[in-house]
């Protein structure tokens, strides 16, 4: 189409009012780490599934930053990854549409020539399309390269102030502790404005996590109860039955507290604890989440935290090794494969309501859930009962069965008065039989649209590190003899058990118990 005679101004788009979802503007996604595991298992399949859903812009390009591939071999690699991991079967017609949109740029991250070459390729693509496209840089690479890569992009004119606009997508871990997180944020801030930075915690892309906001703020029955008056305590569990696989190199440096609690679990906590935002504007939501994290009372590592490490045991009828016997784990490692925290939030809504957080490897099953445990009734009128009715619980299951369950007390049939807990179930799998998009589909699409609501802001990241930093510091005191129980040495727990006894004691001290796994 010729645009030479187009006027400078034009009326508003008359068709925009009738579409349920806008398509992103013309975009080029530059994928660093394009041959890595995350790209193969999640990112390339997500791009394909977005295309299959008709949610990619007509002018979309994927540029893979590679070292040992040419265009043909990378396309073959991408096809295999999509075939193996996409939600939908690989469809030849769709692949034929996607394949020509995939290109490669060759080089190493430390080489300035790579970024010059990249900038040139991006401009070339725009010239071919006849219009500029926004550029998104997804760093699916080691966090050690985040700052330097961001700087190199900026030096190539692709960071702060870039035209066409650019965005930087990075995935946790954002630092190793509060100090390094601040360093990373500062380094990235030199190259990209905060509004250009999209920090991914893929939990936030999960349907149930987003549903938590709808559950809280879209249902009149819950929010009036969502406070210290009605809620006794909250339990957040991220349990995994798997061990560390081949990730010992990373995991032994990180541990459960860094790997899960600092990000996923505290993100869930902030969504449960946040005040209602005035609207679902990205910054308003993130302001409220950050405020909740800032209200967390400083933890006492001795009394508020438990760390554990699995020993040999049995899971699902299979015998499994202890952590120290896993491949590449250093002998005598004190890394936490289990972490539990008791967290208090010092504000009007949550004063006196503990949040118990736990995560672990080699637990009996894979389950991520948030349990809101309500206070018992103030007066027990059923004098003939041996025990009071169990408390109401609202359990929001994030995985594997996405949904929510409300536990209420009901009279069992018969002439005698007996009460038993019953469950009212909502499962995405049965109420909405359509498939949910994968978390990465949602997050990539939001990033293409520039919607940062489900991404973590720098101050949120730092606030979360602030919560766990005292515990990390105490646990890092390797070599020193344990000063107090629970400090210094991880508590052993058998693989397949629900965690160390000290974690049970953490709740028992408050007269409570973990939900069973």
């Amino acid at each position: 189409m010729s645009t030479a005679q187009a006027p400078v101004t034009a009326p508003a788009n008359p068709f925009a009012q009738d579409v349920d979802e806008r398509l992103p503007p013309p975009s080029t996604l530059v994928l660093f780490g394009a041959t890595g595991d995350l790209a193969a298992r999640k990112l390339l399949p997500a791009i394909y599934d977005l295309l299959a859903d008709g949610r990619l812009p007509e002018r979309f390009r994927l540029l893979a930053v590679v070292r040992n591939h040419d265009e043909a071999s990378f396309r073959a690699h991408a096809r295999d990854a999509i075939d193996a991991h996409a939600r939908r079967p690989l469809d030849d017609r769709l692949w034929e549409a996607l394949e020509p949109r995939i290109g490669v740029v060759t080089g190493t991250y430390g080489d300035p020539a790579l970024y010059a070459s990249l900038a040139s390729r991006l401009d070339e693509g725009d010239r071919e399309d006849g219009e500029p496209s926004q550029r998104l840089f997804y760093l699916a690479i080691s966090p050690a390269f985040f700052a330097d890569t961001a700087r190199s992009l900026c030096e190539a004119g692709l960071g702060r102030g870039a035209d066409p606009p650019t965005r930087l997508l990075i995935e946790k871990p954002f630092g190793h502790d509060l100090a390094t997180a601040r360093e990373l944020n500062a380094a990235i801030d030199e190259s990209f404005e905060e509004r250009q930075v999209f920090r991914i915690d893929h939990y936030l892309g999960k349907e149930t996590v987003q549903n938590l906001l709808v559950l809280r703020f879209g249902n009149g029955i819950f929010e009036p109860l969502w406070n210290r008056t009605a809620i006794d305590h909250v339990q957040i569990t991220v349990a995994e039955d798997l061990g560390i696989g081949h990730r010992a190199g990373y995991y032994d440096r990180a541990g459960a507290l860094r790997d899960v609690i600092q990000n996923h679990a505290l993100q869930l906590l902030s969504l449960v604890a946040m005040e209602p935002p005035a609207s679902f504007d990205a910054d308003l939501v993130r302001d409220e989440k950050a405020k909740a994290l800032h209200a967390v009372r400083p933890l006492d590592p001795a009394s508020d935290a438990v760390r554990g490490q699995y020993t040999a045991g049995w899971i699902a009828g299979e015998q499994v090794s202890g952590y120290r016997d896993e491949e590449d784990v250093p002998a005598g490692s004190r890394t936490d494969t289990y972490a539990a925290l008791r967290v208090e939030i010092d504000n009007w809504r949550w004063a006196g309501v503990p949040f118990y957080l736990r995560t672990g490897k080699r637990l009996p099953l894979r389950a991520t859930e948030i349990a809101i445990v309500f206070r018992p009734v103030p007066h027990q009128p059923f004098r003939s009962l041996d025990a009071p009715p169990p408390p109401n619980e609202l359990v929001i299951s994030v995985q594997p069965n996405e949904g929510a369950t409300l536990q209420i007390a009901a009279k069992t049939p018969g002439t005698a008065l007996a009460v038993r807990p019953v469950q009212m179930d909502f499962q995405y799998g049965t109420s909405f039989l359509r498939e949910s998009p994968e978390a990465y589909e949602r997050l990539l699409h939001d990033a293409l649209l520039g919607d940062a609501t489900l991404f973590t802001r720098a101050d949120e990241v730092e606030a979360a590190w602030q919560v766990v930093d005292p515990v990390l510091a105490a646990w890092a005191n390797e070599g020193a003899p344990p000063a107090e129980p629970g400090v210094g040495e991880p508590q052993p727990y058998a693989a397949g058990s629900a965690g160390p006894a000290a974690a049970d004691a953490l709740l028992a001290a408050d007269g409570r118990a973990w939900r069973s796994l």
Binding site: D18, G54, L94, T430, S431, F432
Partner: protein
């Protein structure tokens, strides 16, 4: 009255009765559900809507059954089918079908349905037949398969939050009647599958006209050409009607000619836009293949949005949007009816 109760099987429970009352049917359905709940099937009896189905006389039972089976995979509804029978009595079949979940993250689900076959007199009061059978508190969707109206249509429409039709069930010279039928219903509640299939096309068009230069060309457009396969004529016409309505054009003439649908619209500045709906350039292509807007020598060409072809699920996906407002449908339909001279018919 003959009644048969099958033994409860893992997958299906069924009851059939002849010359029965609606309340008895409701009791049987409830009894089946109670009996079913006693068995551990690993499924949740979750329903999200009441689906009333009033097929026209041109819809055969096998075709409808196949479509309903596809729907059950996506929408855990209570389905109530109301058909016209020759005898002046009510015959009914109620059934529960289950999919058993296996493994973590793979929940089973069940789906119950009632088939009511009633004489013409009862059908005229079909709302009273289905009221005892609906799940209270859930939205009610009325689906009208086929091109001919059932006698149950109007009484059931009084119960419906949304009315699902598919103008694409008609083609060629029968299309004006399909559009007229949709327009005769309460259009704000109508979810026309032919329109819902345009979801991606509408996103595509809206994205293209984000460009001010494209909008400027729209104001000078003198020809719109759509390439579409025959089964998608209804959708293609609705797309043309939508573009015309939102561009501020009035369709003055629209007719089926030997080469396809052709018409003429008047722009706000009194300029003329010719409309043409033609077969695809490549015979094997399906759906709406291409859209071109011309303004003299200038042109905007849009190809079909690339997306997963999944015709088997298209209807179920469309039904899933029953609670989604369709703000562009009414003006698109009105523009078409203007062109067809059917607005007040």
């Amino acid at each position: 009255m003959a009644v048969t109760v099958s033994a409860l099987a893992a997958e299906r429970s069924e009851w059939h009765g002849e010359d029965v009352g609606a309340n008895e049917v409701a009791e049987r359905l409830m009894a089946l559900n109670r009996e079913h709940a006693r068995h551990e099937h690993g499924h949740a009896a979750t329903r999200t809507l009441n689906l009333l189905v009033a097929p026209g006389g041109d819809v055969d039972a096998d075709t409808l059954a196949a479509q309903l089976a596809g729907l059950a995979d996506r929408h855990p509804s209570r389905t109530i089918v109301v058909r016209e029978g020759a005898a002046p009595r009510l015959d009914a079949t109620v059934a529960i079908d289950c999919t058993i979940g296996t493994g973590a993250g793979c929940a089973g689900h069940c789906h119950d349905m009632a088939l009511l076959v009633a004489g013409a007199e009862r059908l005229a009061h079909a709302d009273s037949l289905v009221r005892p059978l609906r799940v209270a508190g859930l939205p009610t969707v009325l689906w009208l398969p086929g091109t001919r109206a059932s006698r149950a249509q109007d009484p059931l429409a009084t119960l419906a939050d949304a009315i699902v039709v598919d103008s694409a069930a008609a083609s060629g010279a029968a299309l004006p009647a399909a559009f007229r039928r949709a327009a005769a219903l309460d259009v704000s509640r109508v979810r026309d599958v032919a329109w819902l299939r345009l979801r991606r096309w509408r996103r595509h068009v809206a994205a293209r006209f984000d460009d001010p230069a494209a909008r400027a060309l729209l104001a000078r457009a003198d020809r719109v050409e759509l390439r579409s396969c025959a089964p998608q004529q209804a959708s293609a016409l609705l797309l043309a009607g939508w573009i015309a309505a939102r561009a501020g054009w009035t369709i003055e003439q629209l007719a089926l000619e030997p080469g396809g649908w052709s018409g003429r619209a008047r722009r706000a500045d009194a300029g003329t836009v010719t409309l043409a709906l033609r077969p695809p350039e490549v015979p094997d292509l399906t759906g709406i293949h291409a859209l071109a807007l011309h303004a003299g020598a200038e042109r905007i060409a849009l190809r079909a949005p690339v997306a997963s072809p999944n015709p088997a699920r298209a209807f179920a996906a469309a039904l899933g949007m029953f609670d989604t407002p369709t703000p562009g449908y009414e003006p698109a339909l009105a523009a078409l009816l203007d062109g067809l001279g059917e607005r007040d018919a």
